[in-house]
Symmetry: C2
Subunit: 429 residues, 2 copies
């Protein structure tokens, strides 16, 4: 493979060399965390583990997990391993409940992060001739600046479009000849909706690449977006605790997301934190191998996926994770069956009358009373036939019966950012 196809040579490093690099970095990061973060020193001591006990990659299992609660109890700077004078950037989570998660970056961290996202964009074909419109929230959300720095580094004409004002976004896309976009999949649906209202189509537009992330989405939504925009659509995965975007990304194969294991050590665990069997579904656990400002050991991401470790035709030697099927905390249990919003989306997208927006409402009356509210065109809202059809498809796909409520197109809330797919009425009372 010519190196021209890759942003960094590490992308095609033989697996054995990658593992040597991982081990070297794992030793470094455990030592760094132990020496410079009081929280980790205490945790390791409690477990009777010393950095010198890390002799092979499997020894990662000796280390303690880190959870989002650990971020809360160490707010704001308890997980920082360097003085603030070495920290050049801070991001925070939205912190809708309680204090936000605070994450910090040294100059080297930003450099690594930028290159990791640049790998992803370069992998799907973004080059200096491209016009890249970045339609996510800038400021504290890592998705904005993360992609911005990477696209600019590649040399693409980067438009920091931000989120909202969808007509304005469309005007920019058309007038500036945008070739690649980045946004949440639900915002892409919103753009589609506004285009349709406006009578705008993308035939003859220069658009060819769509990067969609920050929330789980489905294969059938991909098909809809690809068809409407005339693009190839790629799934993006990341989280601010691990820098931000650039943790994993689909290649041209569109069959799983390459996860950059020279920077992130991957485990998949069950509810008790034990490793699942090969190829089995579980919670993704990540150890940041190179983060200086905030070394994070065995972070429980809450994201459900499984590992695909096969040779990929793109030539990259990094394993893949399957697209995230949901978050641990977004899973709804219906009559004992686990249901994720992305499964519901996948099923709904098979039905042409369904506009795209939906919500899963969990009611307090009985734990199993789950209703899926689905947007359809106004003249279909009272169609018993359509309602029955959707219920049937959902029952067949999910393996459990849920109620369906048809609502008029435009009735459900649009956020511009991550969509709110599960509404738990039990929590509000």
């Amino acid at each position: 493979m010519p190196l021209d196809n890759y942003w960094q040579k590490e992308e095609i490093m033989p697996r054995r060399e990658l593992e040597e690099l991982q081990l070297k970095r794992l030793k470094w990061v455990v030592n760094h965390a132990y020496r410079n973060v009081a929280f980790y020193k205490r945790r390791l001591k409690e477990l009777g583990v010393h950095p010198s006990d890390i002799k092979k990659l499997e020894d990662v299992k000796k280390l303690p997990f880190t959870t989002k609660e650990d971020f809360a109890s160490n707010y704001p700077f308890g997980l920082f391993a360097v003085p603030l004078s070495e920290v050049v950037r801070i991001h925070t989570s939205s912190g809708t409940t309680g204090k936000p998660k605070v994450v910090g970056y040294t100059r080297n961290d930003l450099e690594n992060w930028t290159n990791l996202v640049a790998r992803c964009l370069y992998m799907v074909g973004v080059r200096k001739d491209d016009v890249f419109q970045n339609m996510v929230n800038y400021s504290l959300f890592t998705g904005g600046l993360g992609f911005h720095y990477a696209a600019e580094r590649i040399g693409a004409t980067t438009i920091p479009a931000g989120v909202g004002n969808t007509r304005r976004q469309l005007e920019l896309m058309m007038d500036l000849g945008t070739t690649a976009i980045h946004c949440t999949p639900s915002y892409a649906l919103r753009i589609k909706e506004v285009s349709e209202e406006w009578g705008l189509n993308f035939e003859g537009s220069r658009l060819r690449i769509g990067c969609f992330g920050a929330e789980p989405w489905s294969e059938n939504l991909r098909k809809r977006l690809e068809e409407f925009f005339g693009i190839k659509a790629f799934d993006s995965y990341g989280l601010s605790e691990m820098n931000g975007p650039g943790v994993a990304f689909e290649c041209e194969e569109q069959n799983g997301l390459h996860i950059w294991i020279d920077h992130y050590l991957v485990e998949i665990v069950d509810e008790e934190g034990n490793p699942v069997g090969e190829g089995e579904k579980g919670e993704l656990v990540l150890t940041a191998l190179t983060k200086e400002a905030m070394p994070i050991l065995r972070y429980r991401t809450g994201d459900i996926t499984f590992l695909i470790d096969e040779k990929c035709s793109c030539g990259r030697t990094h394993p893949k994770i399957a697209r995230i099927s949901g978050r641990v905390d977004d899973m709804v249990v219906v009559k004992g069956v686990n249901v994720y919003p992305s499964q519901v989306e996948h099923s709904l997208m098979k039905i042409p009358e369904v506009c795209g927006e939906f919500q899963i409402v969990v009611d307090r009356k009985t734990l199993d009373n789950v209703t899926v509210r689905v947007e359809v065109p106004e003249d279909k809202v009272n169609s018993e036939k359509l309602k029955a059809k959707i219920e049937e498809i959902l029952k067949s796909d999910l393996g459990v019966r849920v109620n369906v409520e048809l609502v008029k197109k435009g009735e459900l809330e649009r956020t511009g950012g991550k969509a709110k797919r599960v509404v738990d009425l039990r929590k509000n009372s």
Copy 2:
């Protein structure tokens, strides 16, 4: 002076050397514009001017002016001098009426811009130990990313806070130990207001530097903000047509803004475009001397100021401009007298009962019917005495009588960004 006090050696370059550099760059940019921008080639030819006619700095007067209408008629890329593949960033103006202004940057342009803003921040004392909270709109507005890149370059802990959610901003300031902030002066007033509602004060806070820009403000507002926040407050000037912020900035003297003449050639002109007398007020006209992607000749900024060309105790050899008294298009003529919002603000800030927000309403009934709406605490709204006091002070300061209407605190719109100070009811009908 030790070089430690300056970000770049050009800041203290002897004036003669600066002028030599200006001339060299002026020749370059005129040539660049002539060869690579069809618009400028046509304009210069119409005037019978050839780049080789630029032999000394005064020859700038031979060149055509550029106006905001020229941006509109060349939308989107007509003023670009390099192919899009060399453009790594695009910003646009808000474009509330019609198409936005589009500005582009090469990698060198971003590098120059970052260093120019870094000069400003470094000049007022921002260092790597500082925590810099950037509370302006990111994305398309140049104020966000412009300051962000510069603060990060200096190595300050940069918080891309963005705009809005004022309580959250205050929480970040307190929890993260913010030492320096950047926002519009009207947003600073908003933060003050919310702090007061919240019973929060800044005694004992680490905050010490405030950078305020993107709209004209007054000396008396500076006093209020300095006192409330316990900071030194500095005026920032820039415009996206000239990269963005980083065109001019106050030094510790707080007496005029050093304008970086190695990158921007300065003229002050009257309404007809003729030079004003030494030290006289007029419209600022700027020629970008180093911009590759978009060389802009003699741009009529619409901003009113005058030149202060005296030796400065800070050691910088660049002349100063006086704080912007207003925009050509924000000037209100009352009975033949020119009134700028910043003058009104300055007068209002003398009166302790005045909360800070105000609006100048121009009515259609007679051209001279101008009302200043002023926010005061609820229990003062009906005070004839206060109304008379404000009218008297305004009359004495402005030299003309205007009507005053007292409105309840909180009644006028807060934007988070640039405040809307002049409401022209004639335009809406």
